[in-house]
């Protein structure tokens, strides 16, 4: 569902345009599907990204539920191992590249121009292209499931040589799909950097920007740095599969471990790409509902930058058991442990912001608070995983699955939902139904913990990842996880319902929809008209 756009006054702005004798004004947009195909408006493209992401969230979720249904009890009941592997792989790929990343890009599209007082993104046509690459990419990726030999079945990390010499024929299409998604990300990142660096309201210095803008600026640099590495590694796979090279084939003098180095040099910054914008959203919401400025704005910026820099130095902690030399093992253990420091600074900042505030618990705040607690739990298990000797036991078990789902589901995804509830009044002009949102929150909290908490125990007790069937001692944990997963999945329908209802109507929201909200987006009317800040606003320095 598209957020209902405000009654469209196409001529309102044109009057001034015509007055200075130019025709740069906004002609009436084409009708129907063409309007969405051709739009260059950051708000419309933002909505497209968010709707795409939500759709993919449900597709990836259904794949996860196939996995959880098979794991409901020991034995093979529903699917064959071959299809099971395709489901785990597709779940990971879709959630990472098609749900979480586009959701953040969608929020960036909507909110960055509004938060820095810019009329649109710096490169609107590129913006349109970046978005429309995504449906192409993921239609192609999903279509591999119907090809002979099935879709990708080697895990979302697609380690060679399982993903090259031993892969299904559809792997070439998987590579093409990932290339297209990667181009989309790079173009989106370029656009975001260009917008933030060039189009801030007069008087707004970098250190005046809202944290969501800051975290996205840093994220965009990460994207530009690592997406080409991904493109490189999948191109090497393509060559190995189709053109007789042996980059990763030991029989031809290649090196399977090289694949993992390259993949994780992309992959570790990638996981921060999925969490840094979440930090930005939470750093906006907590001060709003605590009615108190963020405790350490500058240290939040520095901590984000520190995390981003460190993310390039820790990749081999995903490879502690591949047989690295001792010095490498030690280096990556220390650098990984170091990440706990700036991450801790962030958590301490949020908690200190709450201290002596005046706190209310509307749905965005509930999701943001749950983020702080549950992301921190994911951080703790991350710290445990950093201890290399202990990682020899944790590695590739459900303990790892529990860890990264804690930072991604109640981490990244809760932050996205918090952001959606926070900004829906700005997008639609209506408050979301608070009762419904609260139900959604409590069901999600129960579901997410019931799904992922038992996985810690299953992993410690010795259950490896990515197995379609398991020994009997893991049965109780898996039963709970599966029940939790279906409960969590079903409760996300409340989210969709809430968004649809909010688009269609509800309590009218004023320009400043939340009492404690400070940033520039709250100075434009709710719903935000299609074109905002055509005249740059005057930026007044607040209390950062």
């Amino acid at each position: 569902m598209a957020p209902k756009l405000p009654p469209q006054p196409p001529l309102q702005h044109n009057t001034t345009a015509v007055a200075d004798g130019q025709s740069h004004g906004h002609a009436a947009p084409p009708k129907g599907i063409l309007r969405w195909l051709l739009t260059t408006n950051h708000k419309e493209i933002g909505s497209l990204y968010l709707i795409f992401s939500l759709t993919m969230f449900f597709i990836g979720g259904i794949f996860a539920l196939v996995v959880r249904a098979e794991l409901f009890q020991p034995g093979l009941q529903l699917v064959e191992p071959e299809f099971f592997n395709q489901m785990t792989t597709m779940h990971g790929l879709i959630m990472v590249f098609a749900a979480v990343m586009p959701a953040f890009t969608g929020l960036a599209n909507w909110m960055i121009p509004l938060q820095i007082g810019a009329p649109d993104m710096a490169l609107p046509r590129l913006n349109n292209f970046s978005f429309w690459l995504l449906p192409v990419s993921f239609t192609l990726l999903l279509s591999t499931l119907l090809m002979p030999g099935g879709g990708p079945n080697f895990g979302w990390t697609f380690y060679a040589p399982l993903s090259t010499n031993f892969a299904p024929p559809s792997t070439t299409f998987f590579i093409l799909a990932l290339h297209i998604a990667g181009i989309s990300s790079i173009l989106g990142a370029i656009n975001i950097i260009a917008t933030i660096l060039n189009m801030r309201a007069p008087g707004m210095r970098l250190m005046d920007m809202p944290l969501f803008v800051w975290t996205w600026l840093i994220t965009a640099f990460l994207l530009i740095a690592v997406m080409p590495v991904l493109a490189g590694v999948i191109t090497m796979m393509l060559m190995d599969i189709n053109f007789g090279t042996s980059f990763f084939d030991a029989a031809g003098g290649g090196d399977p471990v090289l694949f993992q180095h390259l993949f994780w040099f992309f992959g570790h910054p990638e996981v921060y790409i999925m969490i840094l914008p979440a930090f930005g959203i939470v750093s906006a919401i907590i001060p709003t509902f605590a009615r108190k400025p963020l405790f350490g704005y500058a240290s939040m910026v520095y901590a984000t930058a520190a995390i981003a820099l460190l993310s390039f130095l820790v990749w081999a902690h995903h490879m502690f058991i591949v047989g690295l030399p001792l010095v490498a093992e030690l280096f990556f253990m220390y650098s990984t442990m170091l990440i706990a420091v700036p991450t801790g600074v962030k958590v301490f900042n949020w908690v200190t912001t709450l201290f002596r505030g005046s706190i209310s618990f509307e749905s965005p705040m509930l999701f943001a608070l749950a983020f702080v607690v549950l992301f921190t739990i994911g951080g703790f298990s991350g710290l445990m995983l950093a201890i290399a000797p202990a990682d020899f036991q944790y590695h590739d078990t459900y303990f790892v699955v529990a860890h990264f789902h804690y930072v991604l589901v109640p981490g990244a995804i809760f932050a996205i939902m918090a952001g959606v509830y926070y900004w829906l009044p700005k997008w639609t002009g209506h408050y979301p139904n608070e009762k419904l949102a609260q139900w959604h929150f409590w069901f999600s909290i129960i579901g997410v913990n019931l799904t992922f908490f038992p996985m810690h125990f299953a992993g410690l007790a010795g259950m490896p990842r990515r197995i379609p069937d398991y020994a009997l001692q893991f049965a109780d944990f898996n039963l709970l996880s599966s029940i939790g997963a279906f409960f969590f999945g079903a409760s996300q329908l409340l989210f969709v319902l809430g968004v649809i209802l909010c688009v269609r109507g509800g309590k009218k929201a004023p320009a400043k929809a939340w009492e404690g909200a400070e940033d520039l987006e709250w100075t434009v009317p709710s719903p935000a008209p299609l074109h905002t800040f055509e005249t740059p606003p005057v930026f007044h320095r607040t209390s950062h």
């Binding site: 020991p74 034995g75 093979l76 009941q77 191992p81 592997n85 079945n153 895990g155 380690y159 399982l162 010499n165 031993f166 030991a250 399977p256 605590a290 108190k292 400025p293 405790f295 350490g296 058991i321 591949v322 047989g323 001792l326 253990m333 442990m337 170091l338 706990a340 420091v341 801790g344 600074v345 958590v347 301490f348 709450l354 201290f355 002596r356 505030g357 005046s358 209310s360 921190t376 703790f380 710290l383 445990m384 201890i387 000797p389 202990a390 020899f392 036991q393 590695h395 590739d396 078990t397 410690l460 007790a461 010795g462 490896p464 990515r466 197995i467 069937d469 398991y470 009997l472 209390s543």
Partner: protein, 370 residues
């Protein structure tokens, strides 16, 4: 529930295993390294618990104490340099405190010198091959849980999915060095009670080692996604007293010599078919299926396979040398000539492939020697 725990305790005691597993936490294991790792795990866990209590305590106190609905008025303070320095410095100190013992343990784990026994572990889709280096003893270890248990036609046994036809036998109190590699994709050899998890990578040889303190049976699984049957690739280690190990090894050596001599004699078809069937079921059936029906396109059917039936040399060549670019590995070094001859003879005479062909071990040995 109680009686189940009690039964488990008894059966553990009966098998002589001291593995302290409670089913919720990492096992302490049966080596010095495994208990060091358990110690690190619990230390970092309790550090996290304490930090969590402090941080969440402060957070929930604030949430409760400073509620807008109770008329709380917001303060407006922000930034405080000494607080910020403090909450950067204290975590660094805690981390250094944690890094010191972790480094020591890691150094110890990396020291595989002075081993008394070398075992080569080779991962293959989807079984393990163990070779006692310098002893001429080698065998493959396959999951022995019947497919009927997986499909639920039969009740699942106590060690469902974690049982094999031939476990790796190791002596206690001796340092055993593992040399690990793979014939196809990356696998990972893992036994929680031994705290050994190491990737086996084609083209690489990784080293690891173990010195087991307690006799017993220790079970684990492949930990790295390696294809369809990744979930059905268990590891079982049987740790025995030193003398028992020595006599076991001597016995296996003698059997291996016997088998080697069998290469030269003429085998009868019945003998080969019987031997071949057991080889087929343990090695081939995971891909080509129990009745030779295969699962195309990845794994072709063998039953009524025209090319196979018409061309015995082609058939033998595929088994000995594998099929490049496909999942079929070369068995020239993992199966002995008797086993290869037996399994080829069997597949040429099973499921309606009534060729009547007999392939002799001597012919296979000649082919391999070329």
């Amino acid at each position: 529930m109680r009686s189940r725990w009690w039964l488990m305790a008894v059966s553990l005691a009966a098998s002589g295993s001291q593995a302290q597993t409670n089913g919720w936490n990492m096992p302490v294991g049966v080596t010095d390294v495994s208990s060091d790792i358990y110690g690190l795990h619990m230390t970092i866990f309790w550090i996290c618990v304490v930090i969590g209590l402090v941080v969440f305590g402060a957070m929930f106190y604030s949430l409760f104490r400073y509620r807008h609905s109770k008329g709380a008025k917001a303060a407006h303070f922000h930034e405080h340099t000494s607080v910020e320095v403090l909450w950067t410095a204290i975590p660094i100190l805690i981390l250094v405190g944690m890094a010191v013992p972790a480094t020591a343990t890691l150094k110890n784990m990396y020291d595989s010198s002075d081993a008394e026994l070398d075992v080569m572990i080779t991962g293959q889709q989807w079984r393990w091959r163990y070779e006692y280096l310098g002893e001429d003893v080698a065998f493959t270890s396959n999951m022995s849980t019947p497919r009927t248990q997986i499909s639920g036609e039969e009740t699942r046994g106590e060690h469902y999915l974690l049982e094999v036809d031939e476990p790796l036998v190791l002596p206690i109190n001796r340092k055993v060095r593992f040399l690990m590699t793979s014939d196809d994709v990356i696998h990972s050899w893992w036994v929680p009670d031994l705290a050994v998890k190491q990737d086996t990578i084609p083209g690489f040889i990784n080293e690891n080692w173990v010195k087991i303190n307690e006799p017993g049976i220790y079970r684990g699984q492949c930990a790295e996604l390696c294809g369809i049957d990744h979930g059905f690739m268990p590891v079982v280690v049987r740790a025995v007293e030193e003398e028992e190990f020595d006599s076991w090894l001597a016995e296996r050596k003698e059997a291996a010599e016997q088998e080697a001599m069998g290469v030269d004699r003429e085998w009868a078809m019945d003998e080969l078919v019987e031997r071949g069937e057991s080889v087929y079921q343990s090695i081939c059936s995971s891909c080509h299926q129990a009745e030779g029906q295969g699962s195309p396109p990845a794994f072709p059917a063998l039953a009524n396979n025209e090319q196979l039936i018409n061309d015995v040399d082609w058939h033998l060549d595929k088994v000995v040398n594998g099929v490049s670019g496909a999942a079929m590995p070369a068995f020239r070094s993992t199966l002995n000539p008797v086993e290869i001859a037996a399994v080829v003879t069997y597949t040429r005479n099973a499921w309606g492939n009534d060729t009547g062909d007999v392939v002799q071990p001597s012919a296979v040995a000649e082919l391999i020697a070329q």
